[in-house]
Amino acid sequence: MVRVDGRGLSNSLIQVRGLDKKYRRGSEEIDVLQGLNLDVDAGDFVAFMGPSGSGKTTLLNLLGGLDVPSKGSITVAGDEITHMSGGKLTAWRARHVGFIFQMYNLIPVLTAAQNVELPLLLTKLSKADRRQHVESALQIVGLGDRMDHFPNQLSGGQEQRVGIARAIVADPTFLLCDEPTGDLDRKSADEVMTLLERLVSEHKKTVLLVTHDPLAAERAQTTLHLNKGVLVEGKAAEGVTS
């Protein structure tokens, strides 16, 4: 269950408490996030919406260990990541986070299978085991027959599905998706959202999604809006535009 009041259970998968993030632009200090609280349980599918500059991406960066907060704490599966060193945070990301990007960010000189294999190179799996994991991940996203295709031989929707396969191949604790449908046509966007739904329902993944697309957000179990640096739940957020 998703909560934003800071009173979630201590065994939540993701627990955010009093999160502040300030940026300095010249002499001006900008408060992006202010005392933000969030609890997400395993298997939740949460969409974050909000106007541009509201801090959605900043929040995802913080949850993914790509940025450090000015104040507050983030605990994921019992690990408090806010005080981890750079090296530890990198290793933590490899184990716990699957990233799905708007622009797919596949490496153009590697095949679909080689792109998907990237996170597994950091594990101790044998070549045969890695191959097996890659095949499974690509089967899940429906691209088992495109393993040896290069990104420029795939459509945008297929590229994004390869990106999703790369995100899930190492079986991370949760997935962070930044506008995964932002660069796709409606049909491909629906396919991607259906795939994310399946990952939650069939594979018990936890998915946190940032989107501007209300249709995409509707597919999530919970929609949260970022307003003035804090999160408010979907239905209580009247007047907040996406």
Partner: protein, 380 residues
């Protein structure tokens, strides 16, 4: 090994750019190889100088002669085992472009003094029997297409007139750096023909000593012996003597070093710029690698390896071409005493290529290492 695909794939990302950068290294190292050959040719005397040989010249100048009567006295200096002498002839074959060193040598002792030059016994004997005979190095024979029995006219520049010699023998070197472009003939022939001016005079002596550690003592003893005489001497090791000759042609080492430094500096700029562009183009990809868990250090080595791979492939290719060129033979047709790319120069070239590869790649690699993922992706 599991990272090989990821690492190598970057090399083939921009094939034309990689080819051009590899080509820059190949051209630079090819040039380096040729410069090393030329430098080696000039310093050849230093490399092959015998540690136990001293050269005795006139104290005033090397072009001033010494009396032949010194030979017996030199042989009696404690520590001296052998003595021979030679004269610089300074002639040309057919025209001035065909210059090579000609020495009027002492037939009784010269061969024993320089055992690194091999002449068959038959040819040596044939030469001894012919006062107008000559023995020449195999490179010189190749240069002019001579053969045993040929009559070779040499136009004297110091000793006037045309001197005709019968080619009686060909000598070979035992080491790659041995000079096989020399032309030897009988000192007695020179003395006979230049009786009026050159009787009893030689150009310089070479002496062999019993122990290289005694070189300083023996040299001093020789020079002291002839001090205050009309023909004072200056004795030095063969290596110092050869170095003096090289200096007469200018500071060849400095010239070659200067050219090499400019070439490598230009290469550094070209490759550094290429690597900086390559990293800038891949900012998002590098950020993604970091996001999925690759360490900063891995990203550093990824970029550095790319730079080093270009350096090694291009540098290796250039050095290989330079080596193949030397193996094909001397394109100067014997103008240089030898045309050889020694293993030390190849090793130095590889090290230089590696150094440029590291220097060109280190700053882009460091900037890739320091890349902040959140900034690079703008949005995750």
């Amino acid at each position: 090994m599991k990272y090989a695909r990821l690492v190598l794939s970057n090399l083939f990302r921009k094939k034309i750019r990689t080819t051009l950068t590899v080509g820059s290294f190949a051209v630079a190292l090819f040039l380096f190889g040729l410069l090393a050959v030329v430098r080696g040719a000039f310093n050849q005397g230093l490399e092959v100088a015998g540690a136990d040989r001293l050269v005795v010249v006139n104290k005033v100048s090397i072009i001033q002669p010494l009396p032949i009567s010194y030979k017996e006295r030199l042989a009696q200096v404690p520590g001296v085992k052998q003595v021979t002498h030679a004269n610089w002839f300074g002639g040309v074959y057919q025209d001035e472009r065909n210059f090579f060193p000609q020495f009027a040598i002492d037939e009784d002792s010269y061969h024993q003094m320089f055992p690194e030059f091999i002449v068959s016994n038959d040819q040596w004997k044939a030469w001894l029997d012919d006062r107008e005979g000559a023995i020449v190095g195999d490179d010189l024979v190749k240069r002019f297409g001579w053969k045993i029995g040929d009559r070779v006219p040499i136009k004297g520049t110091i000793f006037p007139g045309t001197w005709e010699f019968n080619l009686r023998g060909i000598y070979h070197g035992t080491r790659p750096a041995d000079d096989t472009t020399q032309f030897w003939f009988h000192y007695k022939f020179l003395e006979e023909r230049e009786n009026a001016y050159w009787k009893g005079l030689i150009g310089w002596y070479t002496i062999r000593i019993d122990d290289p550690d005694n070189a300083v003592r023996v040299a001093k003893a020789v020079d002291d012996m002839f001090a205050n005489s009309p023909w004072e001497t200056k004795t030095d090791t063969e290596k110092s003597f050869a170095a003096g000759f090289v200096k007469q042609a200018g500071n060849i080492g400095l010239i070659i070093m200067s050219i090499g430094a400019v070439v490598f500096f230009t290469l550094l700029l070209v490759t550094g710029n290429t690597m900086a562009i390559a990293v800038r183009e891949r900012t998002r990809e590098l950020a993604v690698l970091k996001a999925v868990g690759f360490s900063d250090r891995f990203v550093l080595f990824l970029v550095l390896f790319e730079s080093l791979a270009v350096a090694i492939i291009g540098g290796g290719l250039g050095l290989l071409l330079a080596k193949l060129m030397t193996l094909r033979g001397d394109p100067t047709k014997g103008m240089l005493p030898f045309f050889y790319l020694p293993p030390q120069a190849i090793m130095l070239g590889v090290l230089a290529a590696l150094a440029v590869g590291i220097a060109a790649g280190i700053f882009p690699a460091l900037s890739a290492m320091r890349l902040r993922v959140a900034d690079a992706l703008r949005r995750i």
